[in-house]
Amino acid sequence: MSAAQTAALRPDVALEVKGLAIRFGGLAAIEDLSFEVRGGEVLSLIGPNGAGKTTAFNAITGYLAPAAGRILYRGRRLNGLKPSAIAALGVVRTFQKTSVFGRCTVFDNVLIGLHLRSTQRPLAILLGLPSVGREDRLLAGEARRILEFVGLGARAHELGAALPYGEQRLLEIAIALAARPKLLLLDEPVSGMNPTETAHFMSKLASIRATGITVLLVEHDMKMVMGVSDRVICLNQGRVIAAGTPAAIQRDPAVIRAYLGERYARAQG
């Protein structure tokens, strides 16, 4: 087999997690976790509470230092980088607990999210150079475009904290999108949303991936997971217990035993 053929057969790996271990004191939250996210796909991590899903997110995005293991994004090692440096590489996350800039307007929230797209230098800012104003107008247009996309255009001038819960979650997505992610890590984005809001979010997620953004998703809403994912990985006690297509995962006895439960399996028929 030629080298070209090998490359064609090997899937395009965006993120590679190898032998990841994270310990809090004596407690091993994750032990020897390995998986990869392929470019352009939506990959979901599922598993019971405490399985290590959010912990893995925190390690990938630089909020936690792993005890062992390697995290590679497009061949570049993420271990040891600061969260801001990881974001600059295009790996952007959202948080499990709703997290917005509460006392800033919705518009300013997204403007802050555009931080990495802005190039103005401190000296230019202090001198009030015209380039700074020009860039700010461009960014403002971009912020409005992103707000329209998630459906918060009419809320632009309200404070982040004043939005109802479901809209705050959309704002989080808007902030993350503003950072121009190539790999987007979403931590339970629809938790607490009602079915209508979840359906709206799923359609947004479809448009997001259509722009070529790779998505790593942690979610408990199985309807959503099975509906949007290309592949699903099930974790339990810090280890991968199953990986495969949504259909295969739903039938996997280990997944049913550890997480989905017999009732879910029966309901799916």
């Binding site: 600061k82 969260p83 801001s84 997290s99 800033c104 300013d108 401190p122 202090l126 993350a176």
Partner: protein, 338 residues
């Protein structure tokens, strides 16, 4: 209407030297200098949320750096080697003050990233106190408690006036007004820029700010440098106006004064330090004129301070702007709908 009011107020401010007596003018000059310092503190406290209780250190460094550069000095490092500086023009000395304070700001900014919260507060207080002790004890350089005397006033080349020395009160008043204006513009530009948004983001939600690429260290360091440089400029102006400085310039009470100005006016607002500064900078003197006994003066001061903090916890400016634009919560939304 609003602009006409602001214009009239500015005109009245420019014309003040013809209206008030020299002592009142002196108070306004000192208050103006402290307003610049309060504005610099506001950048750290109000926008990045870092409480530096040693802020007077930058003010004092600016004052000493500017005074020593303009007076010249000679310090012996070893019995045979001495470092000496001939007296320099005052404008250069002021630039040295800004640079020296900015450098210390860089140092404190790096530190504030490692030492957060209450620890940073303690470190910053200690920083100012150590500088005070250095100023007291390094007599060869600072004259210690004997103070640096005969500091020259600022001489500047001005278009239309030629070489001009700022020795009289009215011209110092206008100089300080210009300094307040420049500081206001600097802070305004900064907070409405990428850098300022990053500072506000850090104060509001640090993990989220980092997740969209805001570099925590760089942002804090930038805020600290600009803030310290501004405080240093204020200190320099102070030295060349009062023309005598002693180690008491590093006293904690001055930091407290700045904090009171920022917090009562409204931290994290552009006009806050100016409003708070004017009120709580001039209040002691007003009360002295009114009060029969000195104790009453400070009791009334404390009473007013508590009243502001209790009834307007966000400060005067946010409260007034709510009243000024009564529908602030709804009006912009309808504007966006249009």
């Amino acid at each position: 209407m609003k602009q006409a009011l602001i214009g009239a107020a500015l005109l009245a401010l420019v014309g003040l030297p013809w209206l008030v007596d020299p002592y009142a003018l002196h108070l306004l000059i000192i208050t103006g200098i402290f307003i610049v310092a309060a504005m610099s503190l506001n950048l750290l406290l109000g926008y990045t949320g870092q409480l530096s209780l040693g802020h007077v250190a930058f003010f004092g460094i600016g004052a000493y750096a500017s005074a020593l550069t303009s007076l010249g000095f000679s310090v012996s490092v070893t019995p045979s080697v001495a470092i000496a500086l001939a007296p320099q023009p005052v404008w250069l000395a002021l630039l040295v003050a800004v640079a020296a304070a900015g450098l210390c700001g860089w140092f404190i900014g790096r530190l504030s990233f490692r030492v957060r919260g209450a620890y940073f507060v303690i470190v910053s207080i200690s920083f100012a106190e150590v500088l005070r002790l250095v100023a007291v004890n390094w007599v060869e350089l600072t004259q210690g408690p004997m103070a640096l005397n005969n500091i020259p006033p600022l001489t500047l080349w001005l278009p239309g006036l030629g070489e001009h020395t700022f020795s009289k009160k009215p011209e110092n008043y206008w100089l300080v007004m210009a300094a307040v204006t420049v500081s206001y513009v600097v802070v305004r530009r900064l907070v409405h820029s990428r850098a300022g948004r990053a500072m506000i983001a850090l104060k509001e939600n640090e993990p989220l700010a980092a997740s969209v690429g805001v570099d925590v260290t760089r942002t804090l360091v930038l805020a600290a440098i600009v803030s310290a440089a501004m405080a240093g400029a204020a200190g320099g102006l102070y030295a060349h106006y009062v023309r005598i400085i002693d180690p008491d310039i590093f006293l904690f009470i001055y930091t407290v004064t700045m904090v009171i100005m920022v917090v009562t006016g409204g931290k994290g607002t552009l006009a806050g330090p100016i409003v708070g500064g004017l009120i709580f900078g001039l209040l002691p003197e007003l009360l002295r004129a009114l009060a029969i006994r000195p104790e009453v003066q400070w009791i009334a001061y404390a009473g007013l301070l508590f009243a502001v903090l209790y009834f307007l916890p966000d400060g005067i400016v946010p409260a007034v702007s709510k009243w000024w634009e009564p529908a602030a919560g709804t009006a912009p939304a309808t504007r966006a709908d249009r």
